[in-house]
Amino acid sequence: MTRIHDMGGRFGDGPIPLKKIDGKVVDDEPVFKTDWHAKAFSITVASASVGKWSIDKGRFFRESLPPKDYAKFDYYEKWSSALINLLVERELINREDLIDITKKAKENNLKVSQVTDEHQDVLKAKDVAITLGRGGPSAREVLHSPKFRVGQEVRTINYSPNKNIIGGHTRLPIYARGKKGTVILHHKGHVLPDASAHDLGESPEHLYTVEFLSTELWGEKDGNQKDSICIDLWESYLI
C-alpha cells in the first residue's frame, strides 16, 4: 500500500514550475502569493498551540487527504483542509460547526464576533517571536548505544516500517525500500515519526543519514554512476 505524497522517483510530472525571463530563472515570487495563502499558513501555525498535535501528526493528516484531493489541491489548500480534519479529531470543532459556517459563508455572512473566552493555550501576538525562536526540537536521549556506525553498510527494510498502524505514517520513502547504502552521519536520538504521528508517544531512536548510489536506487541504466541520494533514516528502518 502506498500514499500519494510518497512521490520521489515518480515519472510524468513535467518541468519544474519556474518563472523565467529570456530563458533565465527569475526568483522574485512574493512570500505569500495571495492573502488566503498567508492566512492558511498563519491560522495553521497559530492553531497548533491549542491543538497540540506533533509535527508528525500534522504531516500525517496532510498526506491522508483523499488522493484525488491531494493531487488537485494547491499547497495551502492541503494545509487548510488537513487543519480542519485535525481540529475535528481533537474535538475543538465539530461537524455542525462546519455545516453552520459553510452556510454563513455561502450567504456572504461571515462575521467575527467579540470573543470573551479565548482558549487558555491560544498563541498571543507578543509570544510569536519567542515561540518560533524556540521551535520544537526533536532530539531526545536514547539510552542504548547505536546499532550502526558511520561508514557501515546497511540495508533498508522492504516494507512500511510502521509497526502499530496499517497505512500509518512513516518517513522511509518507497523508492528507498530494500536498498543498500552507507551510513554517513549519526544524529543521535530523535523522536520516531511513526509513533508520534499517531499519539503513541515519542519512542526516540537513533537517526542516521544513509547515502545510496543513484544506480542502487534506479538501476545501472537509469542512475548516474557518480551521483548519490542521502536520506535520513531511523534505526528501525535499517537492517
Binding site: 488566503w36 498567508a38 492558511a40 483542509s81 480542519i84 460547526d97 459563508a105 455561502k106 467575527v112 470573543v115
Partner: protein, 213 residues
Amino acid sequence: MSDKKNVEHNHDKHHHHYHSLLPEEPELRVKAIETLLLNKGIINSDTVNELIDTYENKIGPRNGAKVVAKAWVDPEYKKRLLKNATRAIEELSYTGRQGEHMVVVENTPEVHNVVVCTLCSCYPWPVLGIPPTWYKSDEYRSRTVREPRKVLQEFGLELDLNTQIKVWDSTSEMRYLVLPMRPVGTEYLSENELESLVTRNSMIGTGLPEMPK
C-alpha cells in the same frame, strides 16, 4: 472490528474527509475556517497578522546569505558551521521552528549538493524563510532524486559529468543548507558585498551565487 489495527483503519476513513463539508473555493474556505477559529477563541487575529509579518518581513533567505558570507570570509566560523551548524547559525541569532537541527553541506569542485523533500516540503525556515512554490511542487519533489541533472538544467545549471551530485532528501527534522563555493575574483569584496551575491537557489543547490558586477 475489535482489533486495534482495524480501529485505526476506520479512524483513517472518518477523520480525513471533514474538509469536504466546507466551501470548495479555497479563498472562501480559508475565510470560513479563520472566522470559525476566531469565534471559537482558538486563534487570535493579532497573532495571525504577526505570523504573516514575521515571514514576510523578518525571516527569509537574507538570513542564510549572512551565514554563507560569514563562512566565506571567516575560516574559523566555517569550521564551526560544518561541525555544528545549529550552534554556528545560532551565533547569528537564527534559531527555532523548522531549523532546530541544522546541517550545512559544502559544495566543492568535486561535489555539488542539492536539497529536496520528496515526502512533503521540509525546508530550513530560520535561514531561508518559507519555501517558494516550485520547491513544494510535485515536479520538484518527484524528479530531483531520480534525475537531478535534468532538474538542475531547468534551473540553468549545467554541471560537469565528473562532478558528483549529492541529493539530500529531508525525511527527518534535520534541515540542510548548502554552502555554495565563493565565486572567483571576489577577494576584494567585503562581507556585506559578498552577502548580496548569495542567492536563495544557491543555498538550496539549484543555483550558484551571482558573479560580482
